[in-house]
């Protein structure tokens, strides 16, 4: 089992943990954090797979993709948090309303 595989499988684990958190918790801050954990998992998979041969130098294309992705994730998180504060200011609680039963 080489390093690339360890990193990638750890990334898969992070993604699943984040997905679980996104589904289970209703507090919007927890959902934003869960999305960030999912994103970190994806980055770990991509960056881990960039170096699959231990003696070769890492592939620059996935590295560049991850650098781009991290900055976009930060900006998206900031937008999500600003929206969350707006929801809290309007609804009183930082949660989305429960769906009405028909």
């Amino acid at each position: 089992m080489n390093n690339a595989l360890v990193f990638s499988l750890a990334g898969v684990g992070l993604f699943i943990i984040g997905l679980h958190g996104l589904a289970v918790y209703s507090h919007l801050l927890r959902k934003v954090l869960a999305l960030n954990i999912m994103g970190s998992g994806v980055f770990l998979v991509i960056a881990g797979l960039a170096r699959r041969l231990p003696d070769a130098e890492p592939d620059a294309v996935p590295d560049a993709l991850v650098i781009t992705g991290i900055v976009v994730a930060v900006a998206a998180t900031a937008l999500a948090l600003a929206l969350m504060l707006k929801v809290r200011a309007d609804a009183g609680i930082p949660e989305l309303p429960e769906r009405e039963r028909e």
């Binding site: 699943i16 679980h20 993709l65 781009t68």
Partner: protein
């Protein structure tokens, strides 16, 4: 539906079981997908290294970011500007408590910020031949500005109008202008001539560094700035 499961239905054993089954199945699929990739693959590193001499820079990551796949980076800076527009459209910046942060913090900020700006410039320059580049430099710049914001020192309010907005979009503006000029002079969008590539990449990176740093600070502050030009 799984997405609507909330804290209240956590105790429901049927939903918990269903969630467990779906997540286990998805884990299995993803692990299989990762394991089924060829274990010994060089990816695109040979292609990148073969073209590195014509890219104008010696760091393969910078070559991919600003030359081979410059289109991605252009769109990424656009996404940053769009996120900032989204944050600003939601309202004004919350009022900060401006006051004396104390002797230690004031002195620390005065010592650290020049070094952070210097380090940001160093990272920008070193990105052409070693790990570094516009994003790293922009984040260091953002850290310097955040330290200043959090220390409670008054921000220069006269710069909050057009100067700030110009600095926020200068990265995107320079990037698009250079891309379009390359098209007019006979190349493809963002296809640099090899002899001018290094200078063009550095110009784009310098402008992007300023924009990325300021955009990150502005989205952190969570709203339009108050003051001239910032008033609704």
């Amino acid at each position: 539906m799984k997405e609507s499961v909330s804290k209240k239905s956590q105790g429901n054993p049927v939903l918990t079981g269903l969630r467990l089954i779906v997540l286990s199945g998805l884990t299995g699929c993803l692990v299989y997908a990762v394991m089924s990739l060829p274990p010994a693959d060089r990816g695109l590193s040979q292609e990148v290294n073969a073209q590195l001499s014509s890219s104008g820079v010696e760091n393969p990551v910078t070559a991919v970011l600003l030359n081979f796949r410059a289109y991605d980076t252009l769109l990424e800076i656009s996404v940053l500007v769009i996120a900032l527009i989204g944050v600003w459209s939601l309202g004004l910046m919350p009022r900060r408590r401006v006051g004396s942060p104390g002797l230690v913090l004031t002195n620390l900020v005065e010592i650290l910020i020049p070094f952070l700006i210097l380090f940001s410039g160093y990272l920008l320059w070193v990105g052409s031949h070693a790990p570094g580049g516009a994003f790293q430099a922009g984040v260091i710049l953002a850290a310097a500005a955040l330290l200043f914001t959090l220390s409670g020192l008054p921000m220069p309010a006269h710069l909050a109008g057009w100067p700030l907005r110009l600095a926020l979009v200068i990265g995107l503006g320079v990037f698009i202008s250079i891309g379009v000029v390359m098209m007019i002079t006979g190349g493809a969008l963002l296809e640099y001539p090899p002899e001018a590539a290094k200078a063009l990449i550095l110009v784009i990176e310098a402008a992007s560094t300023v924009s990325i740093g300021l955009i990150l600070v502005c989205v952190f502050c969570g709203g339009r700035p108050r003051g001239p030009g910032g008033a609704p």
